[in-house]
Subunit: 458 residues, 2 copies
Amino acid sequence: MSYFDAASSAPLHPVARQALLASLDEGWADPARLYREGRKARLLLDAAREAAAEAVGCRPDELVFTGSGTRAVHSGIAGALAGRRRVGRHLIVSAVEHSSVLHSAEALVAEGGSSTEVPVDRTGAVSVAAYADSLRSDTALACLQSANHEVGTVQPVAEVAEACRAVGVPLLVDAAQSLGWGQVEGAWSLLTASAHKWGGPAGVGLLVVRKGVRFAAQGPVDERESGRAPGFENIPAVVAAAASLRAVRTEAAQEALRLRELTERIRARVPKLVPGVDVVGDPVRRLPGIVTFSCLYVDGETLLHELDRAGFSVSSGSSCTSSTLTPSHVLKAMGVLSEGNVRVSLPRGATEEDVERFLAVLPGAVAGVREKLGAQTPVTAVEEESLVVDALGKRCPIPVIELAKVIGDVPVGGTVKVLSDDEAARLDIPAWCEMRGQEYVGEERAPKGTAYLIRRAT
Amino acid sequence: MSYFDAASSAPLHPVARQALLASLDEGWADPARLYREGRKARLLLDAAREAAAEAVGCRPDELVFTGSGTRAVHSGIAGALAGRRRVGRHLIVSAVEHSSVLHSAEALVAEGGSSTEVPVDRTGAVSVAAYADSLRSDTALACLQSANHEVGTVQPVAEVAEACRAVGVPLLVDAAQSLGWGQVEGAWSLLTASAHKWGGPAGVGLLVVRKGVRFAAQGPVDERESGRAPGFENIPAVVAAAASLRAVRTEAAQEALRLRELTERIRARVPKLVPGVDVVGDPVRRLPGIVTFSCLYVDGETLLHELDRAGFSVSSGSSCTSSTLTPSHVLKAMGVLSEGNVRVSLPRGATEEDVERFLAVLPGAVAGVREKLGAQTPVTAVEEESLVVDALGKRCPIPVIELAKVIGDVPVGGTVKVLSDDEAARLDIPAWCEMRGQEYVGEERAPKGTAYLIRRAT
């Protein structure tokens, strides 16, 4: 098996495993106790905090360990918002943040606060100017990921941090995807991360709050971890997290080069090997190990199953692979094709052979899925000079497949109307038009679902 | 070293260690993913949930894993309160709950709700009648621990649950101290526990919400663990927690008998070996492994250091050993002596030899501390027919030591007034009077600190 989903969770790094084992016998006691076992536990915890702080580039007393990256984000945002409640209750996030950030924003809005989602361009990056424009006098906190988890695009954190600093707004950086590769540059105020993303164990998040940043931890009081992360410290896991962060950092520069070359191969060759592919994300400003592409006329879930059967574990932002039936909010915000979406995120140590085997297997897998899906004949009618395709009740990628089948049936300048009640069509029909050089006219409400109007341009 | 503080954290059970190791390689992937590694992780998680649910005596879909016992309590109380917000915002807790419960109550009060603390008797138990009396028409939730963490007293959970059920109020049981020994009986509605208390790893709590109990998880939305415990699942730890719970349960009946005999020895022999000792907690309805006593004229922190040097790790509810400078809220609620407090909580496998050695070492350790503390001469004066002892600025147990020194200087029927600004004196002076057969008259505010009035009765 080739595991190509490191952005979801990385396999445990050997150093993490070793450190975890070594500290299981020394780190189980309560570090708040004064007896021998407690003192040993405290020493381990302090050393882990120092190592993690050094890797982050902060003071040890600015860093606490939480039970997960999600907890770090939830607690960090809630505490920073509460610390600046007098300033206002406005939060800024980018449109492509991790769900833990977006759900925190929703929670704020549900409580009467407000939030602004800064849009991204087609590569998935925010513009510094747009981010700066969203800063208001009542902005309590701004959030920006260091790099995107679905497409790998690196965000202009240092520049946005500078814009925030200029108006006195703290910036929280979700560094979950990048911390294993290096420190987050710039004058950020808060930072969060998650150990299992860099090969540490599950159950450890980092929350860093710079000295001088107003912060009021929310929820019931608890004395542990400076009052910022309630509950008994998970010291063996924390030790393993810190040790593995140090280890991956030592190898980071070299491994980044190697993985970047491998993902570059995928970026360059997939469009040549597979027709109708859109490689998404910034080609240059990106994480070393992530490459994401979408395949026209392909059902993401079926493609994932095919790849799994061929021995490849990848993930997808296609709507049909999630429980929500809507495409990934990241792809949506980027305005790119979501159907047949595949994210390859290489773990450290991924081999050239595995990548080559993936490139060998992919075309057949895509072709197989397309063949299965392409058999049906679209149901069409002519209405008000448009050819109408009734794709109601059909799920992604069928509406786009049917559109592609019938576009040749109208003359250049003629229009096709696709009726669809699948949420993915809203994203995928315009994306198809862009890829195919056709003109997307717009959408309107139909008696059932939505009517998407396309004018044949070529 | 003899580790006698299992109630704080138990050493990792061999089965937990073994299960953790075995699942490190299989349980690191995201159980929400459909590929092979994800499916393996999901299988492990599901199996762990089933095993834990069986041990608790609930359905698997009623149980979620949280990042700690404290998190389980915080989330359980917040969710249950929110689920019944229409009924009211009144919470009932016993006065001797774990701090995570009491802090949740404080958080509710800070947000405009109300809470009632049900008092306990001198053994640390609530009375079912008093608990039932505290139920109101606006009571959203009631909380009661299964057994006390500081003195081991078992609470009448089944009877209180019945009283709650009769009026439709859900009861949350904090079973942190008892779950390793057996299921919690009775018609409880919610239950919380913490794996490292039974020999499982840190980083795992259990939150059980019975079907039909109104529950609205608070905080930002997260899909994992039925939306009740945000963050990436820590599967190796969860597997280890479930496996070790099963393991300790298998041994529970036999080990309980053995530990009960050992703690009974301590209960019976410490008062004979050490003068001026009060063994606290219920002598019969108690956990097998916990025994707690307080020693007159002893500074708890110094005694702990002496015992640590002699190779025994115990904890204390004395004020001087905590960062808050107030005695344990449990001892305070019981109205028992807090000075020189020692909690012995035997881990599974504690040996008779270790307990005998403890009993051999303790008298000398106590005598040594008493000798160091007893040298000073009290500063006294006579004022309004009372002998006044100025113990201002002196910390526990000095005020009581000075009281004991001067009581013989007044005739029977005469009074001593102790001036003290140490919070522990409020508990320890009345407790001393009770132990010594003297009459505690009461306290009044003094220009500095508090004046405690004692009448010599014998």
